[in-house]
Symmetry: C2
Subunit: 327 residues, 2 copies
């Protein structure tokens, strides 16, 4: 990489490179360049969530391009909005950049965000830049409930059906491929699921419209996030055997498991960062695009798989030893 | 410091310590704990801005407590909303924390944000935590225009009066005191202006109501930010001699200048991070709380002081050698 690094440019020069890459968004009243941006919130409320991506924890620059990181930062934030049953409208981005970070990497970051956002009419309306020791990408997303009540984690009721939209286990399998240094092109289907996860954003709105009682983004693994939903709702969530319901994922994952020594069932139950949506519906009201993966029952809040407790559910803790990215 | 550090706690345990410290806010429909928060935006638009504070660049932990950093992060974000003529409503926070960061520091950060936000009815409605090498505090603020048009940097017109609300130069003087290792209690008036700047938030709304044509937060120094306004508006901004208009600040700064060898005029013109508001008004319509500091004229966009160009205006660049904090 022989181009300029961020220390070669003033903040103004760097912003001049980045601004043209950013998508405007259909809800943008005033984009970057002033003290603040202005975004339409026609519902009279705004949904907001924030996520931080740290180099060495959430991504490695030898595995991920700037575009990958920008894409991922955008998608995982938009997934949080979709999980409320809202439509994402705009992002703002804080970037910490070491002096030796190539300017092209920063421009690529903006492009990756744009690739993820533009198809959904989501704008990148503001940002801040600072020097620092380590790349940090801090994204905040806003969204529009369009008159619907937000769908919380806490609304699951006994008798509800548990359903899932999106892929499962592929990001974890892709991370395993990269970690073992295998041919990323041969396994590009899971590698790209790790590098550029795709959340079924429209499914969030459809679930809310269909009357979902609870919903959340599955970012830390199915068992961990289903347990959070069970605890928030005060219910038992009993999942079906994942190999039986995530049949398309099983087809993709089986060959990766053979090559890596990984286990399909583990990826399906505990793999993080796929950004599928987990939702509960009254029976017979499951929204299009969702697959039934379990049921809600009365009882002490916990998660079962085919009626049984799975010990050592694993999952993600950002400071604990279980963090995938620290492996 | 003998208490636990963040590596001793799970993310859930750390959040359980932090959540009770966070202010709810009058516009909060749904606070932290779900995939996203919900904030009232009764105007049908939301003002949004984001800022990143990096340890070693924007603060030093041997100079600033967690409360100081939390306060500063909140105030500088709220100042950006005020500078649009809006009322801040809510913040979200991303925190990157090294393993050895004391848990008490994180709790203090939340308390400092609360101290700055609660009096204004501003809620801290969400956040994200990650490990990392260096403390990074990424704050995003939202605000309500309450039916008013946003006041941009670009609206200054020849004939307008230039006015300022808030203090000037005190933060830079406080930084100098700390940098020279002088007695911070003896010079606490400027040291606290650095550690806990105060933006006249209400003045932003008053300026918008009074018909301000342009407004911005003075975060990078009066000359630098006035030049930005001049360029955005395509006008000349001619400032009065700062010693003549910032008379209260001069009284405070003169003694500090004697003790440190600093120059009052430099602090007034180029000192950053006071978070005063610079606004332009049609003659005779200056809002209460603002002091007239200059006038707007036709011409090639630039800033003058008493009709003359000041060479080497200095000011802040986050990557350039002029950064105050790198001294």
């Amino acid at each position: 990489m022989s181009g300029p690094v961020v220390a070669d440019l003033t903040e103004g020069q760097l912003l001049a490179r980045v601004f043209p890459e950013l998508p405007t968004g259909t809800a943008t009243d005033l984009g970057p360049g002033d003290d603040a941006a202005v975004v339409k919130a026609s519902d009279g409320r705004v949904v907001v969530s924030t996520d931080v991506l740290v180099e060495g924890r959430h991504f490695r620059r030898d595995w991920c391009t700037g575009q990958d990181v920008g894409w991922r930062a955008a998608v995982q934030n938009m997934a949080d909005v979709a999980a409320m049953g809202a439509r994402p409208t705009a992002l703002v981005v804080g970037l910490v950049a070491p002096d030796d970070l190539p300017v092209d990497w920063v421009v690529d970051l903006a492009r990756g965000m744009s690739l993820a956002c533009a198809p959904h009419g989501v704008g990148v309306v503001g940002g801040d830049l600072s020097g620092g020791e380590q790349v940090v990408v801090a994204v905040t997303v806003m969204g529009d409930l369009e008159g619907r009540p937000p769908v919380l984690r806490s609304g699951a009721r006994p008798g509800d059906v548990v359903a899932h939209a999106g892929v499962r286990g592929r990001s974890a399998a892709g991370l395993e491929v990269l970690g073992q240094g295998l041919d990323r092109h041969a396994w590009r289907r899971v590698v790209s699921a790790y590098l550029r996860p795709s959340c079924p954003l429209g499914a969030g709105v459809r679930a809310a419209t269909a009357g979902a009682t609870a919903m959340m983004d599955v970012s830390d693994g199915l068992l961990t996030d289903a347990r959070r939903m069970a605890v928030a709702s005060g219910v038992v969530i009993d999942l079906k055997a994942p190999e039986k319901v995530f049949t398309e994922d099983v087809q993709v994952l089986a060959a990766v498991a053979s090559a890596t020594g990984g286990r399909v069932g583990d990826w399906l139950l505990t793999g993080g960062e796929d950004h599928g949506l987990l939702a509960c519906f009254p029976p017979g009201r499951v929204a299009p695009g969702f697959t039934v993966v379990g049921e809600v029952r009365e009882g002490m809040p916990l998660v079962l798989v085919e009626g049984e407790v799975r010990p050592g559910s694993g999952g993600w803790d950002h400071f604990g030893a279980g963090s995938q990215e620290r492996r």
